[in-house]
Symmetry: C5
């Protein structure tokens, strides 16, 4: 039985965890979900560390939604560096699923983007733990999470 950690925030304006959990359950079985909710994205790295160490997670999904201000962008970068540090120290994957408010044009699009991205990262999480060959087969094919896939480069002949 594997354990998948989900770390999310009260700052985000869309509750992405249910979408992620639904996509995980739709992908297969053999895992248990453990979850920690923290105030903001800069609290996610410690939450992941605790999910790894206290809750024995094998992989974490870090769900966050940086705000639109300039300072929020800096916060997102520091949060990413922290997730990197926590993942490398643990030697276990942390899939960062951040949705920046400015990626969407309006509320409807933001909510839809956040849910799709959470689902697609959740499917990647499942694949990393249970079906790594699925990722290997799609190496270099231009997959995206939340938006349409960019697809592989097809040089004009």
């Amino acid at each position: 039985m594997k354990r998948i950690g989900i770390a999310d925030t009260t700052f985000a304006r869309v509750d992405m965890a249910p979408s992620a959990i639904r996509a995980l359950r739709g992908s297969g079985t053999g895992f248990k979900i453990v979850r920690r909710t923290v105030p903001g994205i800069k609290d996610l790295p410690v939450a992941c560390r605790q999910l790894f160490e206290l809750d024995r997670a094998d992989l974490c999904l870090a769900l966050g939604m940086p705000g639109p201000a300039d300072l929020d962008r800096t916060s997102a970068e520091v949060a990413s560096q922290g997730l990197m540090l926590a993942g490398v120290l643990a030697g276990k994957p942390i899939l960062e699923c951040f949705v920046h408010e400015r990626e969407a044009r309006d509320a409807r699009e933001l909510a839809a983007l956040a849910r799709r991205r959470a689902e697609e990262h959740a499917r990647n999480a499942y694949a990393l733990l249970f079906r790594p060959q699925d990722l290997a087969r799609r190496a270099g094919t231009g997959l995206r999470q939340g938006f349409a896939d960019a697809g592989p480069v097809r040089p004009v002949r």
Copy 2:
């Protein structure tokens, strides 16, 4: 009995610790407060490390007020990276409560913002230690500290 560490600075222009302490005491019991005051925000990460290791804190609140200059902004980023490092290494939360001078229009607003933000981070600190289910229930609801909550995204139908 849990221990909550408060690290703050002589550089800040508003004394945020009393607001934080009041909000902690108003949230419940079962904790002791330990405090270290340092010169500036870049000294907060070591103060938190000492609060964790020497004073056995279970969580830290790091209160700081970066100045308005360009160099201050870089300092704030380096301080954030340091708080991230200290938190991840300890595996314990450090709630960063920074108020940038340029977030407020005047002195009155700055003082009010700093106090409200310190209170709201303090309530989050209490919840993280004693009532994590309160945070989980509010995941993805757009909470803010110091300003009005952004609220959840409600897509137009």
Copy 3:
């Protein structure tokens, strides 16, 4: 028998691993290749750590293709910092082979650049493990990966 790790992504729009593997095999023998494919560039540092620790790699090639957006550039920087951390902690080389979409004018050039760069980093990987004297002989000669070599500076007399 040495082990060379290859970490790559499903986000990249060109599958660089076959080019790297072909160049490695063309360089000599005495090694086994181990590979991990992850979703995006920020997942490469943990993949390298796992290649070092779980798959006993002696060196890693990290193949990635940051997208053209501004946020992608920040992601690339955080990914680089993570690869640095993973390499320094392991004390083993991670050759970062990133191809930024904006480095090429069109799809044809992007595909060609990505393949050449992967090949040339792969030859460097082989040299680092088996023929370090080849690198020492070319110190300070302005070698490039993917584009024409810049060559050594020849001062005008």
Copy 4:
């Protein structure tokens, strides 16, 4: 008997250590000073690490003067990150006393600023080790090092 480490550089254009030492000795007794001079600011973090580990310092003052060029500013940021790392790993304070050339209008002001800032950081160093209650009493009062204090915010009524 405590030990205070001073790390400084040959790059700086003002010799700040004598000012710092004078201010330390004027603050009280009970400490011994150990000093390491390195070429530039990026060498200060290792110097502090050596002061902690080889010279058994309990706290370090890192004195540096970044140059006016754009590259110097990046160097200062990397040096700050290194000081943060060294301090957090040791769990001991490193007071960063940097004077940027562009903070002063001319040579006279630069020299005066550097000396005052070194003195005031030195007094903070003494307080951190011997009189932490002095810092706690001045929390949130807008103290500055080298320039006039900003003072606490007094909201207009």
Copy 5:
């Protein structure tokens, strides 16, 4: 017998190691030189770690020449952060000797600058290991590597 590590790259367009070695040998005796050449500046931190751990170096010189593009500048920053990490973790000095192409107006100046800077960093390396009092005597005197010294600030009276 001390050991001085030299890490350099095939990317650099000037072979700086011979200049550094000549300056080291001209400074005195009592050391052995160990060298590792890697592809680019981002490979230098692991090379230094290996020089410290596998080759028992007491200090490293890291010689690199970032290219003129914007991405090269980001690479240089990440490389500097990596050298910082490797130095602090080892507790041993790494003198970063980087020459940015845009620091010189033409090829002749670039070659001359690179050689002088390598020589002067090499003399600093020797002083750090064998004659630290020479550095202490020149603290705060505005020394530069490669360009004319800025000199100490002499306030107008």
